[in-house]
């Protein structure tokens, strides 16, 4: 398991119990983890974990000019995808009528989500505006196609796995916690107040309904 786990870590993957259960179990073992850490250290990397503890990933041990450049590129990627990801995740939370964050292990059922979107004109408009942030609507131009394309985007980015292909049920992976950390940092940096905005959000939605 050492080879598979280290290859995944070096390839920039997030090791969580949902996406890579075997590698996760491997890293949960203190002895195996120490070996993995020693190996990574020789490559100038270390084993890091998301704040919530739901995923392992490889981080730099020291930051020189090369690492800084790579970090800048990584941050640019986050910058590029952030708006779409945040919008879509909040959209899924709204459609599923839940206030809770889509934590690792949470399920997204395409059919249920689609039924909720069909019932609610606001969600239909919202989905189209989110699609515009990405590469537009789905290939067939339908809402279903758009939703599937967005879900596939999250799947390709490693935020979801397809837990049940027949019923199109997706499961949230531990990588979501990394996104959560990014959001928390940006909120602190921009001094965004969650409580105040919550109220405004409700008022805003009321206005949009009117």
């Amino acid at each position: 398991m050492f080879k598979q786990t280290l290859t995944l870590l070096l390839a920039g993957e997030f090791i969580c119990p949902i996406r890579y259960p075997d590698a996760w179990r491997f890293l949960e073992d203190d002895t195996e983890r120490a070996e993995a850490e020693a190996f990574l250290a020789r490559l100038g990397r270390r084993l890091a974990r998301t704040r919530q503890g739901g995923a392992w990933f490889a981080a730099y041990q020291d930051i020189g000019s090369d690492e800084r450049r790579a970090i800048r590129e990584g941050f640019a990627e986050i910058k590029h995808n952030l708006r779409l990801l945040v919008n879509f995740l909040v959209f899924v939370m709204q459609a599923q009528r839940q206030d809770r964050f889509l934590a690792p292990g949470g399920l997204i059922e395409t059919n249920r989500l689609m039924a909720a979107i069909d019932e609610n004109p606001n969600l239909r408009v919202e989905l189209q505006s989110i699609a515009a942030l990405g590469k537009g609507s789905g290939a067939d131009g339908t809402l279903r196609g758009t939703l599937e394309r967005l879900l596939k985007r999250l799947l390709d980015d490693g935020y979801l796995i397809l837990a049940n292909p027949e019923r199109e049920i997706y499961e949230v992976t531990g990588k979501i916690e990394y996104l959560q950390e990014v959001v928390d940092f940006l909120m602190a940096h921009e001094s965004v107040k969650e409580e105040l905005d919550e109220e405004d959000d409700g008022a805003g939605r009321q206005e949009s309904l009117l």
Binding site: G54, F75, V86, N87, F101, D201
Partner: protein, 414 residues
């Protein structure tokens, strides 16, 4: 002891004979007397063995003890299972057996002593099984994160419940370790027969159980903490989404402007790993040959060399050379182009041809077609010439037909 006389064998055979009914009752939770598979004889036999108990007048369910046994064997997850529910009760029996065994020994009641020793041993085995099973079940729940319930609120409630159960088991284990049972058995010669079972089944396993329980409790508490964090995280995400909507031009800060890099940004960029087979390495040669043998053949373009002909000499032995003569329209076009170059006025292609009787065999329509074809080729030799079609008026605006009756050829002024 014959097979038929043994009650255990008889019971197991009855279960096997009517296994279809047992399975249906276990999986469906009940079985109707009117079901096709439910024969009155089968139902009666299973009821006699207390494997089935009445649920309503015409339906039955599996006896709780048998259903529980199957749950344990199959490690079926239950909602709010009474994990380790009777560990404390079972542990409380042990001092009673010790007291009675010591009394029986002192009073010389050997038969009674044997009975108490057997009872004590059974209680010890039962207790060890209960603790082992409970810990195994809790571990499974902790590892699967309460997979049988869907919502986070349910998971949260289940988690809190099982933390409570784990704490109760922990107290029972503590009682076994510090309650002085071992000292009593060890220090009382009359209780010597009780020692092997207690030591082997309970005492020596206690440290391992406590460690396992600690581990499980830690996992459950960490998970509970994470579950409690989920709701505020959702609120923050929504607030940030609103912030993004209100600030459509918002751009995340430049890393260079930050005094300190945030922890998440430290994530190492993926390494692009690529390996190639070492063809000189003998150990991998066999595998490489196997891989190579399975590769589909790559399409090989076959280039056929043109056949080189040989010049056959004529009958007189001389090599004949055939020179191709230009065609009449080519001669006519060449002459026309030559004249246009010299002349200044536009020339009618038809009038020109009529002035040259050597081309009279060339039909007018073909001639005009040849001139237009030459115009379409736009060759360098006609670069200085302008071709102008003279057309008949169209028979119909949308017919699409162009009927040409002449072509004017003129020199383009430089």
């Amino acid at each position: 002891m014959s097979r038929t006389d043994d009650l255990v064998v008889a019971y197991l055979e009855a279960l096997h004979r009517h296994r279809g009914l047992v399975v249906a009752a276990y999986h469906l939770g009940r079985i109707e007397a009117t079901d096709e598979a439910a024969s009155p004889r089968g139902l009666q036999e299973l009821r006699r063995h207390r494997a089935l108990v009445p649920l309503t007048q015409d339906s039955f369910r599996l006896a709780s003890s048998l259903a529980r046994h199957l749950d344990e064997v199959l490690q079926k997850e239950q909602l709010y299972a009474a994990v380790g529910g009777n560990v404390a009760d079972l542990a409380a029996r042990l001092p009673l057996f010790i007291d009675e065994a010591v009394k029986a020994h002192l009073e010389g009641r050997t038969e009674d002593l044997d009975g108490y020793v057997d009872g004590f041993n059974n209680a010890v085995f039962d207790l060890a099984d209960q603790i082992g099973g409970a810990l195994q079940y809790l571990r499974m729940l902790a590892d699967t994160r309460f997979a049988s319930v869907r919502t986070l609120a349910e998971k949260q409630r289940q988690n809190a419940y099982y933390i409570g159960r784990a704490e109760r088991i922990g107290e029972a284990l503590k009682g076994l370790q510090t309650g002085g049972l071992m000292d009593r058995i060890d220090g009382e010669p009359a209780a010597a027969p009780l020692l092997p079972a207690f030591r082997g089944q309970i005492w020596e396993r206690l440290p391992q159980w406590r460690e396992s329980l600690l581990d499980i409790t830690e996992i459950l508490k960490a998970y509970l903490y994470r579950l409690r964090e989920v709701e505020p995280a959702g609120r923050r995400l929504r607030a940030f989404n609103l912030f993004l909507k209100r600030n459509p031009d918002y751009a995340t800060p430049d890393l260079d402007t930050l005094a300190e890099l945030p922890g998440f940004a430290n994530r190492a960029a993926p390494l692009r790993l690529r390996a190639h087979p070492d063809l000189l390495e003998g150990a991998t040669q066999e595998a490489l040959v196997e891989v190579a043998a399975r590769l589909p053949p790559s399409p090989v373009p076959i280039k056929r060399a043109p056949k080189v002909g040989t010049l056959t000499p004529g009958a007189d032995g001389e090599v004949r050379v055939l020179e191709l003569a230009p065609r009449p329209y080519q001669l006519a076009l060449s002459a026309l182009i030559g004249e246009v170059t010299a002349a200044g006025e536009p020339l009618s292609a038809l009038a020109w041809k009529r002035r040259h009787p050597e081309f009279s065999a060339l039909p007018d329509a073909i001639w005009l077609q040849c001139v237009l074809y030459e115009a379409g080729l736009a060759r360098r030799r006609t670069g200085h010439i302008r071709f102008e079609r003279l057309e008949y008026p169209p028979s119909h605006t949308l017919s699409g037909n162009i009927r040409v009756h002449d072509v004017l050829v003129s020199r383009v002024s430089a």
